[in-house]
């Protein structure tokens, strides 16, 4: 697919019939839309035990016995997990991979979409396959898979030693490790969870449990010198490759860097640490007190707090702004740099920043109708379904992808029309 610069930012409105597909097939599943908004697709049932994918009204050449998990990759390729004669694989734009497996699930994409990874099971052994190339080593069990942002490295927590049924003692000796591109660390742990691959692809960090009680972070198989009551997902500092992770001590959470406290403040909860693209800032979701949630940026919490949840903290491309979702008394709100937009929604999706970071927009839903909010103002349209808005590279236009009155609509609007 073309780079956003080359997308059609001039046609104000394109329409593709969708509801009418219902008549052509036994049933049509929930639609997916391409990042550029030019395609709408859905899994369709064409008869007993026969499925296909319909994209812009045309089906893939070959049907499959089963199809599920239809998703567009960030580069616009359309992927689905497909099965024929009991074997499973991934199909990309209708063409199945050459590798077939006992089972395939959880496809994930590199940031640009050029790499696609899946988890697979073959003969009760587990591994990952990236771009149709399976790991050379497979394992008795595998969890917490991840793919590096550039798509070159894949990793997962893997079981490297066998233990008998209900053999709790063998398990507690440590039967798990983490594998990078299928190559496990030498060291074993009781548990390995939530892996992170360093930006240069050379380091793998993970949460580990050394015993049933001692948690820490291991980097390339080497645990930090300190242990904690609990830890959450590690992140790599993009600038120096050090590792940060939330750690729990004496009932309170803080952020640690390479094992030592990095933030002074303690929180009731602290998770989802996320670095700005330039690595200069770090945001995390925190609970300041019981049932009192917000975002902390570089350790300093926002003033606006939410009694139910805070999620989806995202940085602007320039790393200077942060947006998130908060839920209070049953309603969702959008917060950008500690200022809460005036509307309350039944659901809100992660906000999206314009390339220059000046504007933020989000897909929102109220009473079953979807619309978009830009900088605290609502678009006056309403839709039956919607996908995340996309800003044009110059930040002056915005792409809305919706389903309205049974048709898929691709709209390009000047941002000024909504944001003023």
């Amino acid at each position: 697919m073309k780079h956003p610069e080359q997308w059609d930012w001039d046609s104000l409105r394109k329409e593709i019939p969708f509801a009418s597909w219902q008549g052509q097939f036994k049933w049509v599943e929930e639609p997916q839309v391409s990042p550029d908004g030019e395609s709408v697709a859905a899994i369709v049932n064409t008869g007993e035990g026969e499925f296909n994918v319909c994209i812009n009204g045309a089906t893939w050449e070959t049907p499959f016995e089963k199809i599920w998990h239809l998703r567009f990759a960030p580069d616009g390729r359309l992927t689905a997990i497909v099965s024929d004669s009991g074997e499973w694989t991934l199909a990309v734009d209708g063409r199945p991979w050459e590798n077939r497996f006992g089972y395939v699930w959880e496809p994930r994409f590199s940031a640009d979409g050029t790499s696609i990874a899946v988890k697979f099971q073959q003969d009760m052994r587990y591994g990952m396959a990236v771009n149709d190339a399976a790991w050379a080593t497979t394992f008795a069990n595998m969890t917490c898979a991840t793919l590096s942002a550039d798509g070159r490295r894949s990793a997962a927590a893997v079981q490297v030693a066998d233990f008998g049924e209900a053999d709790i003692f063998a398990f507690q000796q440590g039967t798990f490790s983490a594998a990078l591109d299928g190559k496990p660390w030498e060291r074993r742990f009781v548990n390995v969870w939530n892996l992170a691959i360093s930006p240069d692809g050379r380091k793998l960090a993970a949460e580990v449990r050394l015993t049933l009680y001692d948690y820490t972070i291991a980097v390339n198989g080497e645990p930090w010198g300190q242990t904690f009551n609990c830890v959450w997902e590690p992140v790599f500092d993009p600038r120096d490759g050090s590792v940060l992770a939330p750690v729990r001590q004496a009932g309170q959470w803080t952020l640690a860097r390479d094992g030592s406290p990095a933030w002074e403040r303690r929180f009731i909860q602290l998770w989802h640490p996320v670095f700005s693209p330039d690595g200069a800032n770090l945001a995390a979701v925190v609970a300041l007190s019981f049932g009192n949630w917000t975002v902390a940026v570089n350790g300093t919490p926002w003033r606006s707090t939410f009694n139910e949840l805070v999620s989806d903290a995202v940085f602007s491309p320039d790393g200077k702004r942060v947006a998130a979702i908060g839920k209070k008394n049953g309603f969702y709100h959008i917060i950008v740099d500690d200022s809460v937009w005036p509307q309350a929604f039944d659901m809100a999706w992660a906000p999206v920043f314009s390339p220059d970071g000046r504007l933020a927009a989000a897909r929102v839903e109220k009473k079953g109708k979807y619309t978009f909010a830009i900088d605290g103002r609502l678009w006056n349209g309403q839709a039956e379904a919607a996908w995340d808005p996309v800003f044009s590279p110059d930040g002056r236009k915005i792409l809305f992808r919706t389903i309205e009155n049974g048709s898929y609509l691709r709209r390009v609007l000047p941002v000024s029309e909504i944001a003023g």
Binding site: G251, S289, F290, G291
Partner: protein, 219 residues
């Protein structure tokens, strides 16, 4: 004898009330500070409505299933606690002391009624003692301290009753009565008599959890 009387009536009374009030405040404050320090989340579940609902239910005779299952005990418990608190507060001779020292006075019980209530409290203590000894599940969890606090609660009433009726050595009994009352006051914050202080809080917490979170009754 007079000196002893003056001592228990004067400095020791001051001390007893001081320990009772100061100690109670200390214990309650300490508990609340502990909540604040380690279990702050409790505050967020406390509800006046459900706290009071629970407390009132458990202050009403036979309002809880367990009270109906133990009818005699329920009658004894309510009569005992009413007598234990009301008799000393509303006794004419106690109020006269308050008036003499502080010029304060209030409505009092007729002496005959107070006398009956005193007997009820003493009988209640007897009932609790027998229950402790005779009922296996109570006996099993009974320790020496349980007998001690029962004795502490009974003593002012026994001595008061004897002194009032001027049986045995009145003067000694009178002093012993004051002394045992003072011991009881001072013991409240620092023995399990402190259930008097803590019960409203444990009840309120359980009432709030059951009512506000679990939408269920707690009686």
């Amino acid at each position: 004898m007079h000196d002893l009387y003056a001592f228990v009536r004067g400095p020791l009374a001051w001390a007893a009330f001081g320990v009772f009030i100061g100690g109670s405040l200390y214990r309650l404050l300490h508990l609340l500070m502990l909540v604040h320090r380690k279990e702050k989340f409790i505050y967020s579940y406390m509800s006046w409505k459900y706290s009071l609902r629970s407390i009132l239910h458990w202050m009403t005779p036979f309002a809880a299933v367990n009270m109906r299952m133990n009818r005699v005990l329920t009658v004894v418990t309510f009569a005992f606690h009413l007598g234990l608190i009301l008799t000393p507060v509303l006794l004419l001779s106690h109020v006269l002391l308050w008036e003499e020292s502080w010029g304060l006075s209030w409505w009092t019980l007729p002496d005959g009624v107070a006398d009956v209530m005193t007997v009820i409290v003493i009988a209640g203590c007897g009932y609790f003692l027998v229950r402790r000894l005779a009922q296996p599940e109570v006996r099993y969890v009974t320790s020496a301290s349980d007998y001690v606090i029962l004795a502490i609660a009974a003593a002012p009433f026994v001595t008061g009753f004897l002194a009032y009726h001027q049986w045995f050595a009145y003067e000694i009994l009178f002093i012993l009565h004051i002394l045992s009352g003072e011991i009881m006051l001072a013991a409240i914050p620092f023995t399990r008599l402190s259930h008097m202080l803590f019960a409203p809080f444990t009840r309120a917490y359980m009432g709030s959890e059951f009512g506000g979170v679990r939408h269920a009754r707690d009686w």
